[in-house]
Amino acid sequence: MLQFFFIPGHDRRLIPEGRLSGPMPWVIAIMIFLMVLATAAGLAFSEAARSVSDDLSSRVTVQIVEANADVRNRQSEDVAASLRGLDIVAQVRVLPEGEIRELIEPWLGTQDIGEDIPLPALIDVTLARKAGPAELEELQSAAAQLSSAARVEPSSGLIEPVIDLVRSLQWIALGLVFLLAAATAAAVIISARAALNTHDETIGIIHLLGGTDRQISKLFQRRIALDALLGGIIGLVGGAAIIWLLGMQLSALGSGLVQSLGLSWQSMLIIAAIPIMGMLLAMMTARMTIMGALKKIL
């Protein structure tokens, strides 16, 4: 397909070329810029959802809801010891009361809540594999033997709505990329038709001298592909600058889900390939448009 870049100079002169001379490269630059941002957002959301989901899917929390503090502490120690003996359990940690108070601080404030509000005991359990229904059942029965007040809750369940939201955003970003690709193709169709009209006379001459549709189409494809590539590189540079700035700001926030928003090197490769994809899209669209238009001429 890249053979179109290597057509001889005398053939290139048949259709005069001017780099960045028309609106086409700039339209494509804007489209690619937006596509880079949408793709980066989609990929970042996807990676964040996967990262958080992977992290939480092998963790469960055991709650022991018991008003009597002594009973609660004894039961939590017994349950923790029992869980440590299971094959599927990798790590067990009984959360100290101080840490539990810190967790509820955003809702109940910093004042000493004393014994008026009994806090449940929390046991953070890390599993050796993902927690499916069978694993949860095994944990629940092990805990229930020692404490009827024990409840096993998968950690992933707590953040499921957030993950769903992030996945929705990811699909919206993907949809935007497709819409922008369609808009780019439409711009190329308009540009190709305009170029055909501008060079109508030359095309007529080449036809009557025995030129084929393919020969004529190659001339326009090359020109449009180069315009698209130049526009694409400009769009990529602009988009990459914005992503870098946003990345700096997000890393400064340094917390939770926001911190997990990042781009792997594979994602960066995908983003870097967008101008090439844009060029190929422009070239194929131009080819179809031009071949279609030439077929209407004898």
Binding site: H10, I205, G210, T212, K295
Partner: protein, 237 residues
């Protein structure tokens, strides 16, 4: 003798108007020289368009190089067009190309390598007296010079048929004679020549040329030799 072009009851109509060409039936033979005459508006250019495959007829049959040109698939037309040289009335040079590149165009379209086309193009430029204007663009050439470039472009590929629409209209009498000599030389090499002109003085300059006359879109046949099969010269009225 095998015919190179054969028209049978050909008619041409643009849009819904009256027929521009009606009931054309004639045969052209390889290596012959034809003049197509007629008043302005008689349909000469339309007939030439059918010959150089710029237009399909509204009716009738056209056989070109032994094949039906009317029903021929579009994809095969370029190959046939390369066998036909055309001198357009309005020259139709590519405005942003030099005289050299305009003349080289048919060879490049046919895929001739660059090193193989430089000598013939330079020789052709010399022949039409434009050796020193090789790099000039059409806009900087006079009408006569443009016409010579157009003629050079039409003959550079040694076509089997050369179709010329008023090829001497913008050149001085000396150059007109030289161009006709070029056409005759090509004709001697086997090229069939069809020259549309309203200059009846040209006709006498090519002995042995046959004449086709168009009147209001219909062909009269003063020599009888255009018919298929041709009428022997001694029975011609």
């Amino acid at each position: 003798m095998n015919e190179i072009v054969q028209f049978e009851n050909v008619g041409l109509r643009y849009g819904a108007g009256a027929e521009t060409l009606s009931d054309l039936s004639f045969t052209l033979y390889p290596g012959s020289f034809y003049f197509l005459t007629g008043a302005s508006g008689a349909g000469k250019t339309s007939l030439l368009k059918l010959l150089y495959l710029s237009q399909r007829p509204s009716r009738g049959v056209i056989r070109l190089f032994g094949e039906d040109a009317v029903t021929m698939p579009r994809a095969r037309l370029p190959g046939f067009r390369r066998r036909i040289g055309v001198v357009f009335q309005d020259f139709r040079l590519v405005p942003h190309l030099s005289a050299f590149d305009n003349i080289a165009l048919p060879l490049r379209v046919a895929g001739v390598r660059e090193k193989d086309l430089e000598t013939p193009v330079a020789e052709m430029l010399d022949w039409v007296g434009l050796g020193d204007r090789a790099s000039a663009r059409p806009a900087t050439l006079s009408g006569g010079e443009q016409q010579r470039v157009a003629i050079a472009r039409a003959v550079i590929g040694r076509p089997e048929i050369l179709v010329a629409d008023e090829p001497t209209g913008n050149v001085d009498p000396d150059m007109a004679v030289r161009l006709l000599q070029l056409f005759e030389a090509l004709n001697t090499l086997g090229t069939t020549i069809v020259v549309a002109t309203h200059d009846i003085h040209l006709l006498s300059k090519v002995p042995g040329a046959q004449m086709m006359k168009l009147e209001k879109g219909s062909l009269s046949d003063p020599t009888g030799s255009l018919r298929h099969p041709p009428i022997p010269q001694d029975t011609t009225v």
